[in-house]
Point group: C2
Chain length 491, copies 2
């Protein structure tokens, strides 16, 4: 580690950028807005994928794969979808290169122009519903519960690693149902899957809510979302689940014969989460020394560093460590023994702090004598000397403890940064001095929502699912409102 | 199942196409040459991915992710690479659509033209080596052992599901090394990983060999491959591993400081396997009744079908089955109980045969009385009645037995369809009457190779790694040759 990170209070944004780079998570590529996810970063993403994928399968979904390319004409089929969505995207117009007749490398072969341009998928509703048309004839074919893991491209003007990139990795679920009620239940179930994943794996407390029509997914009847709070008190949407009604079924003419033999349009949902969650994970928990990873998503949960003067000491420590590693692995704990002699222990300590390894063990000559090991936890940076006897149980409990304690800290932060505002003045003051989630009354109109956004850069993150009925008046117009909605400045 | 499959002897090609469709493996999409991989097909691919990924990780590799898009200029940097490779590809020229001013949906926004066109990756050597330049400074940064799972696009004129599609899924390993010897050892190790996967998981015996310069990967110094034989006696290349020498390091200026402080170019390898293996798996083992899956790659290893007259019988069978399923699952055996009453047992039998489920259990009233179950194996289509006592051990052994026996059958087929030819006449006769692998002497020139290809459509599949030295003369030119190479007509 050459120099220290910028601190969060100094420059949160620079802190994030540097952390992403120095912890070997990702970097910008030669292609504007597209990132390279580096091995360490990708191994975190793989853990997220595995956990989510298991949850999708437990709830009855299967994976499949649909084409990268979407015929341009598909995008126009669902009117709202094309209006709200599909403009900023990568367009394939040709299918061949040729040697530059003037000798300058390769050029596009003008004779190889596609009859219809292809769009690199920004999301796959259109291509998937055009396929579902052939898969669904009868109520027996329903529900159809499919997910795909894929790359998608949205031509973003301002990009930020993980948070907003031109190409990103995600999963998109697309389901089809016989009834409206079943589709809504599916939409809500998948929101709960995302919320559970955020809370139990990412240690990230989230609000569950519904988007306003303004913020709704293009083509959806209702968009559900989970919203988390970052350490700079800005909000981040970490997953969305859409009830599509019959919109895509109608656009692509997907009907089924019900039990009575009647032909009906199918009801749909879609839901997605992406590498953006990597950004949320980093920004929610990490500190000025580097990443703080919840143990359940840490590629390395325990690192062991030997502290020795000579080969003899090293050999003795190494023998103890091998034994310990075997026991830890038996419990399913991932452990790394960093025995390289290229770097000093102090350097290694800082490196693994930077990378967010939850537990660090250090073993030296005195530990050998006393049958102990030094145990340091990354989240609180506390250390203790622990007897090797029973150490595996201790570490297992410690990892659970860290997972819970990172969550508790984030939850306390969220509570501390949730405020009520009853007037527009108060609202603006909280926004400028404290940020966070602001619970306020709103008259339900897009006009007021837009005005607030223009004047304050705050958006309605969601109408919380658990919002209590409360009579009040809109902070801007004074019109009546039946419950508070959640505002925030957001990523 | 509406009607029977075409038979292999009738029309092998139609048999394959229909099987892929009817067994719910994949289908053509609305985009020419791009396929939809359906849930059942994808679940087989997931099993392949998991097994390969575990092997990559056991051999020290990490996954990462590199951009989908490659700047056009990158392709010209490695001269052979662009010559041999990069012409037929999808070219992104624009990044925005707009509403058609004439009201016809959306059109490409002419003002959103990219300064430099982007190519949808046909393979990622160029973008990865341009990244490695920043990752590699010293011998300490080596070896760099990275793999990515990704989609790639090659604009194919004649496509065939799984075997040759415009977009396909694959993994591509890209490694960097300090020495030539280490890079060659890596290339050979990964070939062996592919061969082991083919033989132990896919139950598919393969030849390990080296490609002739003609068939070499564009930009490689040496291409290793594994070659399998399909039931129509045509060969199929199922994986390749390339020793890149310093070609890409020189093209992208990737140097490292060695232990003596000298600056040297890095040595590289790349290796890939794709959804094409799905085609190989299907074509190698399946029969006229449908898929035959090796148990290790079967999404459902055991299906249980109840045969009953009334609810009471069903309940009794169901109780027994629940118990059995618990025991099977405990052993890690994937099992499905098809209790639906929408279809008759005979229909279900045919369906699971079509889908290649290795073991089918049927339980009826007499089985209840006798404490037995009917066990049918898919590969040989034999049935036996087995006591429920000890059935789990029996099934576990049966699955291993099926795995081995599918392999043995394919190995016998490969042996029966490997021939030696000592004259060009003999060669052509074998090719036209028997097909398969033909071992023949060749003078080592691309001219002779091309002539044989033009005249017979047979190509040199590989120079086998285990080929014995044998003095002989080229079947075409009569020039001396030191060992036989393997010819075949191929997919
Ligand atoms: Zn407050
Ligand atoms: Zn023979």
């Amino acid at each position: 580690m050459s120099k220290a990170l910028p601190t969060r209070s100094e420059n949160y944004s620079e802190w994030y950028n540097e952390l992403v780079k120095r912890a070997d998570l990702a970097e910008n590529s030669a292609v504007r807005g597209c990132m390279v996810i580096k091995p360490y970063g990708f191994s975190i993403w793989e853990k997220m994928q595995r956990a989510l994928d298991d949850m999708f399968k437990e709830t009855g979904h299967s994976n499949a794969y649909f084409p990268l390319f979407i015929p341009k004409s598909f995008l126009s089929k669902e009117a709202d979808h094309v209006e709200g969505f599909a403009k900023e995207c990568a367009v394939v117009t040709h299918y061949r290169l040729m040697n530059d007749p003037n000798g300058g490398g390769v050029v596009v072969d003008p004779s190889a122009k596609l009859e219809e341009e292809l769009i690199v998928r920004p999301t796959s509703e259109t291509v998937i519903w055009s396929t579902y048309k052939n898969w669904i004839q009868s109520y027996r074919d329903l529900p159809l519960l499919i997910n795909q893991w894929a790359n998608v491209v949205r031509w973003e003007m301002r990009t930020r690693i993980f948070l907003r990139t031109t190409e990103f990795l995600w999963q998109e679920g697309h389901t089809a149902h016989a009834t409206e009620a079943e589709a809504i239940a599916e939409t809500e179930q998948m929101l709960e899957v995302y919320a559970t994943f955020a809370e139990e794996w990412m240690a990230l407390p989230v609000l569950r809510g519904i988007k306003t029509p303004n913020e709704r997914f293009a083509g959806a009847v209702e968009t559900y979302c989970i919203e988390a709070l970052m350490q700079d008190t800005k909000a981040l949407q970490a997953g969305t689940s859409h009830f599509l009604g019959q919109n895509f079924a109608k656009a692509f003419d997907v009907k089924f014969q019900d039990k009575e033999g009647k032909l009906e349009y199918v009801w749909g949902t879609s839901w997605g989460s992406s590498t953006r969650m990597m950004g949320a994970l980093i920004m929610a928990h990490s500190d000025d020394a580097g990443l703080v990873l919840p143990p359940k998503l840490a590629p390395i949960q325990v690192v062991i560093i030997p502290i020795y003067r000579d080969q003899n000491q090293f050999d003795q420590i190494s023998a103890k460590v091998q034994e310990l590693m075997k026991d830890l692995k038996k419990r399913g704990i991932s452990v790394k023994f960093d025995s390289s002699d290229a770097y000093k222990p102090g350097y290694k300590f800082a490196e693994y702090e930077l990378r967010g390894v939850p537990v660090r063990l250090a073993m030296g000559a005195r530990d050998l004598e006393n049958g102990t090991v030094e145990v340091a936890r990354r989240d609180t940076k506390t250390k203790e000397t622990v007897a090797l006897e029973g150490i595996v149980d201790h570490i297992e409990e410690l990892l659970e403890n860290i997972q819970q304690s990172i969550y508790n800290k984030a939850l306390a932060f969220q509570k501390d940064n949730s405020h009520k505002a009853d007037t527009y003045e108060e609202f603006k003051e909280i926004l400028d001095t404290k940020g966070g989630f602001i619970y306020a009354h709103w008259d339900g109109t897009p006009e007021t929502e837009n005005r607030i956004k223009e004047e304050t850069k705050a958006t309605i993150r969601c109408i919380p699912l658990n919002a209590e009925a409360e009579e009040g008046v809109c902070i801007v117009t004074g019109k009546p409102s039946g419950r508070r909605v959640v505002f925030a400045r957001a990523y």
